[in-house]
Symmetry: C3
Subunit: 351 residues, 3 copies
């Protein structure tokens, strides 16, 4: 971490300086935690009050704030902040270990230039790795796997045989790509395993969190589109296709043979049934249960998942079910009384 002037940082993100361009910034932090020599940002209005009390030396904002702090004005403050964090802190450095003699690399495997294969990692027969791949201890690359350049498999990540990873794919620790799909033909009460002939194809720049499982397809392939980011403990069923630049937060389940479009955002613990089609730019709230196909651009909440426009209110009203029930009972009683009174009245009228 080498300190930079605010001027250098502003130039790096194409922002405009308000205040002292020569203030030195050594690192980045949140508004609440930042101190002298640190830069922070405001991207969410919710935290606007913190602008007034932060001890940061400078902040990145979208529009000039009425505060005494030095500022960088940037159109997308969070993006600018990301660029500055990369500049000041950098991404994780991978130790250059080369091909460890304590690793197990098949003679038939082909590795590109500048790969690291750590102790106790396994590269099986005919696997092909591009250049600059980092294979951490205990990671397993099955037979016939093909990986592009600059992939990272963290400790104990497992890629089953035949799967294909593009360039810049990151698979975090203890995740699995390409296990058999959950496919059984049930006959006379027994479940007979169907060979899962497809593989998993992971396109460029995908990151997968820890403890995920991406099943291989039964006959076709399971596909994760380029630029899609997947959090921890996500399961993707056999033959599903997830588009490009999606965000799947954590503990999501996508059942088999489902297609998800591009630029979708799926919240934690959401589940999507099999054999449906989710459009592009769809947002699915955390814990939703999607049981039907979804057109482009929708936002869904709840289980079963419905249009968020009415869904947020609808699900929040479950709380009032006892009150509603009581209202209905009261109405029934009052109506019965009214009918009885009317009957009496009608009777007396009829006299």
């Amino acid at each position: 971490m080498q300190a930079k002037t605010l001027k250098e940082l502003a130039a790096h993100v194409g922002g405009q300086i308000i205040g002292n361009p020569d203030v030195l910034i050594h690192s980045a932090s949140t508004l609440a935690r930042a101190g002298a020599g640190q830069i922070s940002f405001l991207a969410n209005e919710k935290y606007e009050k913190q602008l007034g009390i932060t001890a940061a030396s400078a902040v990145i904002v979208k529009t000039q704030a009425d505060i005494a702090l030095d500022q960088i004005i940037a159109e997308d403050p969070y993006y600018a902040f990301m660029q500055i964090v990369v500049l000041l802190h950098g991404h994780r450095k991978h130790k250059a270990v080369g091909i460890s003699p304590k690793a197990s690399v098949a003679d038939s495997a082909k590795l590109g230039a500048d790969c690291d294969v750590h102790d106790f990692a396994t590269i099986c027969d005919n696997a092909k790795l591009g250049s600059g791949c980092r294979i951490y201890p205990g990671a397993y690359v099955g037979a016939d796997v093909v990986m592009g350049d600059n992939c990272v498999l963290y400790a104990n990540a497992v890629i089953y045989d035949g799967c294909k990873l593009g360039n810049g794919v990151i698979v975090n620790a203890n995740s699995v790509v390409g296990e058999d799909g959950f496919g059984f033909a049930t006959h006379d009460g027994k479940h007979h395993k169907i060979p899962q002939v497809g593989v998993v194809v992971i396109e460029d720049d995908v990151e997968i969190g820890v403890c995920c499982g991406i099943e291989r397809g039964t006959l076709g392939d399971t596909v994760i589109g380029s630029g899609t980011k997947i959090g921890d403990s996500v399961t993707v069923g056999h033959g599903s296709k997830i588009g490009s630049n999606c965000l799947l937060v954590a503990q999501i389940g996508v059942a088999g043979s489902t297609t998800i479009g591009n630029n979708c955002i799926i919240g934690g613990q959401a589940g999507i049934v099999g054999h449906v089609t989710i459009g592009n730019n769809v947002t699915i709230a955390a814990k939703s249960g999607v049981i039907n196909s979804v057109p482009d651009g929708m936002t869904l909440v709840g289980a079963p998942a419905i249009d968020a426009a009415k869904g947020r209110r609808a699900y929040s009203m479950i709380e009032y079910l006892p009150d509603m029930k009581q209202s209905i009972r009261r109405l029934e009683k009052q109506l019965a009384e009214l009918k009885a009174a009317n009957g009496q009245q009608a009777g007396s009228d009829g006299k």
Copy 2:
């Protein structure tokens, strides 16, 4: 993959040929993807339209379809398809590696004939493996574990000490069998770990997906019945018993001391509380939350889970809660008006 004639395939599955018995089939695929030389199937009416447009050379159907394609008529087309996929494609072949010198096998461990123990696999003291077991890299077999014949532990699967696996058990990558149950005695605000004295017993022909955790019992054992298939990221709590030939899809949680019968089907992300009894042939829909015991044969949906016969409709009606609330308000208003009018009327009557 050696091509077979339609006649050979029909004979293999005990089916009847409609069309040319000599057509050569080299592989299997879905109706939508199949091309020349491929066979597909129709098991779900939902896909019937695809029969008319598939480019497959032959299809397996339950009753003769009015199409120009060569057909195999089979009573259970999906089962027949499975048999044909096995015939044409086969199950995964495990490379015969024997006992790798780079594995760690305790002197006191006993291995049956024809076992493969890959590099970096660990077999601890007094473990006993039957014949034909495949222990992939990084897999761990704890002390005193007993495994039957033809078991497969994929990469980095972990079996804690003392657990018992029957014949033909498959544990996929990064799953764990036999970790301590979540058992603590809370006293004066501190949680004291209770030794988990039981083990896990996995009966014959069970398959467990990736990233699962099957806890050992506190005092008795946790049991997974024969022929049961478990998907990815499933957690089974301490002391629970799951019957035979169940299907547990993915991300399911079964809390401790619960008993599940035979032939149950449990959908993804469902949860079952502890200390309840689920009967035989019970179906639990995805995302259900089961909080009570369930008699044989029921189908449940929702959280809390209720009889699907009414539950599917009930949960789908959450969407209309705002409308219902509005209806109740309107009724209240109208009733008040009516009462007021009646009162007036009554008043004028009483004059």
Copy 3:
């Protein structure tokens, strides 16, 4: 397991003996399974009937039971039982293996006295372990990790670089501590990875189940407070802080930047959104979806989560939505009839 007299056991837990102090007890079991020579306990009234039929030689109870069995009276029978299980059965014994020559320990790593580092375990540069740590096969301790005394990392557990574990921390098999938080800045439709500069701090006496993921913080640290116990497949998001002596059962998701107080109990499959504050002594039922901050002492159920006092009833009423809808329709019809009748009547009155 050496047998003890009831007198010895009573003395060990500070309990009072009813019956024969000399009866020999060799092990512990549940009321339903216990036999001669075994001790059991009654902590939950639900099982009181089993007291009459248990074959145990002795039981631990809170108040003297009117049964012929020998008894230990203890104020907290479950705690007493735990103490006795520890006495009779003990916790898991870890085989003393020392530093295996088949492990990979960096020259710059520092290990305290009496550590076990098993085959295929990896200890990276500058890692520091206290005394009495047990590092099972395939476990991975990243660079600059600091661990206290008596920690246990079971097989294939992974600690990313720089994380800090206190004393007596247990991480079960295939769990991960310190992977990058799910932090991306989305710009022009692409998700740019934000370096995750924080680490994970795990305080003393925390136990983490299998297949968990505890993300490192983006700028600050993720913290798990002392004495907190976490079950299987739990995900904790970046920068969240969990207090002391909490119980998080299985498959729970805590999103990023959320703070949870002390002594909270969170049920299986519950989810908590990011950026909220949960107080002390909060109980969150299984499968709940918490979307707001929660004051001290509350109990919540449901998704969305609401006060259990009304929530249990409210969620159980979803089942009756079709009936309620029908009641509303009936009311609307009856009211319309009544209005029509009144109108007629009014009309005839007006004649």
